[in-house]
Amino acid sequence: MTGLLQIEALGVRRGERDVLRRLSLAVQRGEIVALMGASGVGKTTALRAVAALQAFDAGRIEVDGFALAPGPLPRQSQLGPLRRRVGLVFQAHALFEHVSARDNVTLALRHVLGKTDAEARGVADRLLGSLEVGTRADALPRQLSGGEAQRVAIARALALDPPLLLLDEPTAALDPERRESLGRVLRSLVKDGSRGLLVATHDEAFARAHTDRVVKL
């Protein structure tokens, strides 16, 4: 296998029903791949399987040399290497409600990577600034607009500097202007060639305009 993300013949069953059947795709560093399909075809399930939030029944997933096999999910303590390789931006953002935008980013830096408060704050402010939400660093999630919350969620997912970033329906709540702006942000994330993006979306126009390849489900 080569590439940043390799999914081969991925299958997820829920009871008697196939939620995903024989999905195969690859994502290289420096590229943005769209995973397209109507609602309910299993796009989110595929992203969750790659992020090891969802067990799968068949196939194989490999992220930058870390392989996941079918069957029960490994323990969280065994998934450290995967967590450093994959960031996930949830559709509804799932920002930590009780802390500021900045602390959404610094928490993992301090408690997972062991950075000092000052170091973590420096990284968080740089990430938030680069995503144009630096002025909102002290706001609580409930005080952010939908677009701002999404950028903070991207900043949080990038906190551990993972080479693979997964985004679940990132345009769902954005107006056309914000969609364009998001497209530019995503492109900036892969321009140095160290990172690859897999974007689950049903927005065909966005996928054609802002991604390098489209994989249809």
């Binding site: 998934l79 996930l88 930590f96 928490l107 997972v112």
Partner: protein, 473 residues
């Protein structure tokens, strides 16, 4: 209820309803072992003698001893008799009969202390137990100021003696017939009386005509030997009674009525303030422990292995399913054979372990109310499950738990009044003592309610402020 006396009158002739507390037991009033629906005791027989003298049939009404004064004024019965002490406060507020029994307040101590603790003045710095809201309690309060004894108030007259034997208190001051009834080789009754008092019948203030008739019957029963026969039957006759009868039938009064000086609100304020402080201290300490134990239980129920979850669930269900009062008795009296906890510590532990069960359920619900996406987001960032609980789930759950926790704390503040059953004099108990002494619940009750409100309202306000500050949405 109003129809009952009329009904009884029509079926059985006129009835004299009299109130007493069978929980007080022999020789005053106790349930008849042969027929638990009937009562017996020397007070029972005195009441029957009075009823006969009035041409009526005596009918017993059970009432808590400390409520007899209030009940008789409410009209629940015509006369209250259950070792009712003759005090100035009682005479001022009710129609009171002539004294019909003379009692002596006597000290009981453990045999090894008999030589050194003969009088109250010998008991400086020692814990002396008695029944709350009695003449003996007033004597101990006075002795606290003059001799430095430490009064310990009980709700019944059994546990003072069992705690004397157990070493929890150093002496008991109570009426000689109570001491005699509880007599045991494990304590001795000092021969010298600390004070003398009298039992009287208590009638509503407006019933002075009936009281005069009752007095006439009692005086006649003293003169014709009827009372002496009753007292001898119950083994409570002594020369003191004969002297009392002579004085009463000769038209004299009983020797000076002691205790229960007329009381003003101001005189009780310091003791109410002290009791309120005890209530607050008790509540804060109990709640602190309840929160910690509740957190452990909730974490066990959410994260624990199956056996741990089952154990935590059993604890929560058993504690929530049994009365706090029972738990207090078990911890204080039931465990006394294993560990002899001081009353205040037992009260804190009972309240804490009881409320821990409720706290655990609040925290479990709050932990489960945190959105699963929050936990998944934390997992994708590489937090361990422990870190997720500490940094994400716990703080968010805390905000959900805050309002019900505040409710629980206010409830605990009020439930803390139950600990008076194990001798801790907190706000409600102090109020009850005050109310008994002044013979009315109106002023003490209003004062007590005001103090509870003053303690609980700021808490509710503080909780609302926290909720606004940490609002999730």
């Amino acid at each position: 209820m109003m129809l009952l006396p009329l009904l009884l009158f029509s079926l059985q002739g006129p009835v004299l309803l009299w109130g007493g507390d069978a929980e007080g037991g022999a020789p005053f009033v106790e349930a008849d072992p042969a027929d638990a629906s009937r009562v017996r005791g020397f007070d029972v027989e005195v009441a029957e003698t009075i009823a006969r003298g009035l041409g009526r049939r005596a009918r017993f009404v059970q009432v808590q001893w400390s409520s007899i004064d209030q009940s008789v004024e409410r009209g629940d019965f015509a006369i209250g008799m259950s070792g009712m002490e003759d005090t100035p406060a009682r005479r001022a507020r009710h129609a009171v009969t002539v004294p019909y029994f003379e009692f002596r307040e006597v000290l009981a101590v453990r045999p090894q202390d008999a030589g050194r603790w003969r009088r109250l003045r010998d008991l400086k710095g020692r814990r002396v137990a008695t029944l709350g809201a009695t003449m003996a309690y007033d004597l101990l309060l006075a002795a606290k100021d003059s001799f430095g004894v430490i009064p310990v108030s009980y709700d019944d007259d059994v546990h003072p003696y069992s705690d004397l034997i157990a070493g929890r208190v150093d002496a008991v001051l109570l009426d000689h017939i109570i001491a005699k009834r509880r007599s045991s080789p494990r304590f001795v009754i000092q021969p010298e009386a600390v004070a003398t008092g009298y039992y009287v019948g208590v009638l509503a203030r407006a019933d002075s005509t009936l009281r005069d008739s009752v007095d006439a019957v009692l005086i006649a029963a003293m003169g014709d030997g009827a009372l002496e026969q009753i007292y001898r039957r119950w083994d409570v006759w002594d020369p003191g009674q004969g002297e009392l009868f002579s004085r009463i039938t000769g038209g004299g009064a009983a020797r000076g009525v002691m205790g229960g000086q007329a009381v003003s609100v101001g005189a009780y304020l310091p003791s109410l303030a002290r009791a309120a402080a005890i209530t607050l201290l008790l509540s804060f300490l109990s709640m602190g422990i309840a929160v910690v134990v509740g957190l452990v239980l909730a974490t066990a129920r959410v994260y624990g292995s199956a056996p741990v979850r089952i154990l935590a669930t059993i604890y929560v269900e058993v504690v929530r399913g049994t009365p706090l009062l029972l738990q207090l008795f078990v911890i204080y009296y039931g465990l006394a054979g294993v560990v002899r906890l001081p009353a205040f510590l037992a009260a804190i532990l009972a309240l804490a372990f009881n409320y821990a069960a409720y706290e655990a359920e609040i925290y479990r619900g709050a932990l489960e109310a945190v959105a699963p996406a929050q936990l998944e987001a934390a997992r994708t960032l590489g937090f361990s499950e422990g870190q997720i609980l500490r940094l994400i789930r716990g703080p968010q759950a805390f905000r959900y738990a805050l309002a019900p926790m505040t409710n629980d704390f206010v409830a605990l503040l009020k439930d803390s009044s139950l600990v008076s059953v194990i001798t801790v004099v907190e706000l409600t108990k102090q109020t009850a003592i005050y109310a008994t002494n002044v013979g009315s619940w109106i002023v003490p009750g209003l004062l007590c309610a005001a103090v509870y409100l003053a303690m609980s309202l700021p808490l509710a306000r503080l909780a609302r402020r926290f909720e606004r500050r940490w609002s999730v949405v």
